[in-house]
Amino acid sequence: MSIAPDILFKIAGFPVTNTIITTLLTDLVLILIVICVSKTLSLKPKGFQNVVEIVIDYFYDLIEDTAGKKVSFIYPWVLTFFLFIVISNLAAQFPGFESIRFHPAGYGEEGVPFLRAATSDLNTTLALATISVIAANIIAIVRIGIKSYILKFVSFKMFPIFMFVGILEFANELTKFISFSFRLLGNIFAGESMLSQMYHLFPIGIPLPFMALEFMVAVIQALVFSMLTMAFMHILSDKPQH
């Protein structure tokens, strides 16, 4: 199993990979959720609306407890990260993700899996990390103003201490791209690879506990990504202390 996504076919030069297919399936699930809830939305919630309300309310309250009044502009980002990553991760636990094979030219007899977790692709995780970091910085600029934002990274007070602190802060922002993207990629890709090997070695029974473990990892990684995004958005949109 290659760490790079497998290209299934190309549409006008655009490479359609198995992770792109899963991304579109994740989008479809999310849009179906939106349609289902929109159609039956009522003041007296019942059925599926209850579940969606519980999830949205839980995240809203959690973010409100941490970020206070900033909740209104932080929670859509955090919740979307969570829903997108968790659905994408959990989708990989469904049957067919490893077994349905596609045979593009040059991949031999075995072919490639038609479906693969979107978050096991660096393109996806780096894109999510980029959005998270850039959104956090844009929110910070909007909230505290460009002057206070720059002061977080460039300060001549108590020279050279805060200057050095500013450089560290800047380096911290850059490392977020790597930490965000590779943490998620590493966990999900490792899980998929392990399960793939387990299916090959022990097709029945033995992979079950590993599947349960992967189920937990899928939810935990989604939660870690979204909670870190919330924390960074909250911390960055606070005025600098120095």
């Binding site: 760490i3 989008d27 969606v52 393109n123 894109a127």
Partner: protein, 173 residues
């Protein structure tokens, strides 16, 4: 670049994922989070309003109870005052009627007494006349031979005169 190729990093796929996520973020925010949050807020507002209404109703009920007690108290006071006034009036009326009845009965008694006295006088006079007539007749019968008509007439006249003066009432001749 070799590492990036190993990880399969491609600009088109990276951009696709960014655009895809932003589109999903827009759809979810506009059509899921906002309607649900608005619904939850609306529900909370209605629940708060209902709780406030319940509190108001409870307070109104307590006020109504107090008002009822106050009105009952006032009514009892008024009733006591009216009862006392009625009793006093009744007592006065009773006294007045008793006094009038007593006066009237006294008046009736006095009138009856006066009438009785007049009646007695009349009876006396009548008895006197009857006794004179009777005496005259007896005398006429006894002394018709002894006295002349002229003497009889004189005696009779004198007796009548005396009767008219009330001489026989006292028992003297």
């Amino acid at each position: 670049m070799g590492i990036l190729h190993t990880f399969g990093l491609e600009a088109s796929l990276f951009l696709f994922q960014i655009i895809n996520f932003l589109v999903i973020l827009f759809i979810l925010t506009k059509f899921l989070y906002k309607p649900i949050r608005n619904m939850v807020e609306e529900r909370k507002r209605k629940i708060d309003q209902s709780l406030r209404d319940a509190e108001d109703a409870k307070a109104a009920l307590e006020n109504a109870g107090a008002e009822r007690k106050r009105i009952l108290g006032d009514a009892k006071k008024d009733a006591d005052i009216m009862t006392a006034a009625t009793k006093r009036q009744l007592s006065e009326t009773k006294e007045k009627l008793t006094k009038e009845a007593k006066e009237r009965s006294q008046q009736i008694i006095d009138e009856a007494k006066q009438r009785a006295v007049v009646e007695l006088e009349n009876v006396n006079k009548q008895v006197g006349r009857m006794s004179v007539d009777l005496s005259g007749k007896i005398m006429t019968k006894l002394f018709s031979d002894l006295f002349t008509d002229e003497d009889k007439q004189k005696i009779l006249s004198r007796a009548l005169e005396k009767i008219e003066k009330g001489g026989y009432e006292t028992g003297s001749n």
